[in-house]
């Protein structure tokens, strides 16, 4: 529950977390565990990540049945078509340490709707989708989605017929998932760009379905940062 009625702290106030963060980073660099350049490179790499490549992958799959087959059979190979190399893209050249290189595209059909969670932590396909949303990381989402998926999806505005198979996918090991949602009616003749625009991050997690004219996630409260990220890199 966001506490928006607290007085804004003074600009100079530094939190215990900020102090510890600096201490750890400085010590790690002093001891040669990683370099300042490594850290800068990683920050910059994360800035390049976002949901657009995954949205394009969905649009391409809608337009090309052979590409859809590839996407479902080999998500890592299919990602190359949208400029994402799970192995060599990240600075490590062996995938990101946390997101690995086992990527599966879950194909929704009129009979099957997928939705993704990581009950154990918050594993997420950052390499093709960017950083996870706050709600995805909450113990609440992780507790409830696996057991009460229809209730949780209803809270996200999604209600499906009783005979549809809702498949909750719990990404508990090295595989990372995106949902390939159903292409909505009313998009006949659309270009790849037009289709990409209606595949939002929420659609790729599985808590929303693409709709013509809807090009952003549903509006939710945004808990502000005290010292947000500097964007002037």
């Amino acid at each position: 529950m966001s506490d928006t009625h607290k007085a804004a702290p003074m600009v100079d106030e530094v939190s215990d977390f900020e102090i510890l963060e600096m201490a750890v980073r400085e010590l790690a660099i002093e001891k040669g565990l990683f370099s300042a350049e490594d850290h800068r490179r990683w920050i910059e790499y994360v800035h390049t990540l976002g949901p657009l490549p995954a949205a394009r992958l969905a649009a391409k799959a809608w337009l090309d049945p052979d590409f859809k087959k590839l996407a479902v059979a080999d998500g890592v190979k299919a990602s190359l078509a949208v400029g994402i190399d799970w192995i060599n893209g990240p600075p490590t050249k062996f995938g990101t340490p946390s997101d690995y290189c086992s990527f599966r595209v879950l194909e929704d059909t009129p009979k099957v709707k997928h939705v993704v969670v990581c009950t154990l932590c918050s594993c997420y396909p950052r390499t093709i989708l960017g950083q996870s949303p706050e709600w995805y990381r909450t113990p609440n989402y992780r507790r409830r989605l696996v057991r009460w998926p229809r209730q949780v999806l209803a809270e996200f505005g999604l209600q499906l017929a009783a005979d549809v198979e809702i498949r909750v996918v719990d990404s508990n090991q090295k595989t990372r998932y995106m949902v390939l949602p159903l292409r909505p009616i009313g998009t006949e003749g659309w270009s790849e760009q037009q289709l990409t625009e209606i595949v939002t991050r929420d659609c790729l997690i599985g808590v929303a379905m693409p709709q013509p004219g809807v090009t952003s996630n549903a509006k939710r409260p945004v808990h502000p940062a005290v010292h947000p990220i500097h964007t002037g890199h």
């Binding site: 890592v76 799970w86 192995i87 060599n88 490590t92 050249k93 062996f94 995938g95 690995y100 290189c101 086992s102 009979k111 009950t119 154990l120 696996v146 057991r147 998926p149 229809r150 009783a162 005979d163 549809v164 198979e165 809702i166 498949r167 909750v168 996918v169 719990d170 990404s171 508990n172 090991q173 090295k174 595989t175």
Partner: protein, 122 residues
């Protein structure tokens, strides 16, 4: 007592240009199970760390994909990577997992991955 020597270069050497879990290919030997097999999740002792969710223990599901070879999370979490296992994706019916799952949603399922040690033939 002496200080441990840690080989920080090991994983990068092994996985560079290859990826993880790709770098463990061929190390797990013969897969015990295959696509379509019905398996039951073992309730092994749950001490210190596990990535086999308690909500799956004792449940029966169907293997839907043989996914990759990798050290089990319970070993990788202590950097013991010498004995990779096969990993499987298993699908369960929700009414098999939760006794109170509404009967009207009879087709709902859940899919999650297990390393081989957690599975026995059902």
């Amino acid at each position: 007592m002496s200080k441990n020597q840690h080989d920080r270069a090991h994983h990068a050497k092994k996985a560079s240009g290859v990826g993880d879990p790709q770098c463990f290919r061929g190390e797990a030997g013969q897969a015990k199970f295959k696509n379509g097999d019905m398996v039951r999740i073992r309730d092994l002792p749950d001490i210190f760390y596990t990535r086999c969710q308690v909500y799956t223990r004792g449940a029966v599901g169907r293997i839907t994909k043989v996914v990759y070879e990798s050290p089990a999370a319970e070993d990788e979490a202590w950097d013991n990577t010498d004995h990779p296992e096969w990993f499987y994706s298993v699908v369960f019916r929700q009414h098999e997992l939760w006794p109170d799952y509404p009967a009207s949603y009879k087709n709902d399922t859940l899919e999650t991955e297990f390393s081989e040690r957690w599975l026995e033939q059902a």
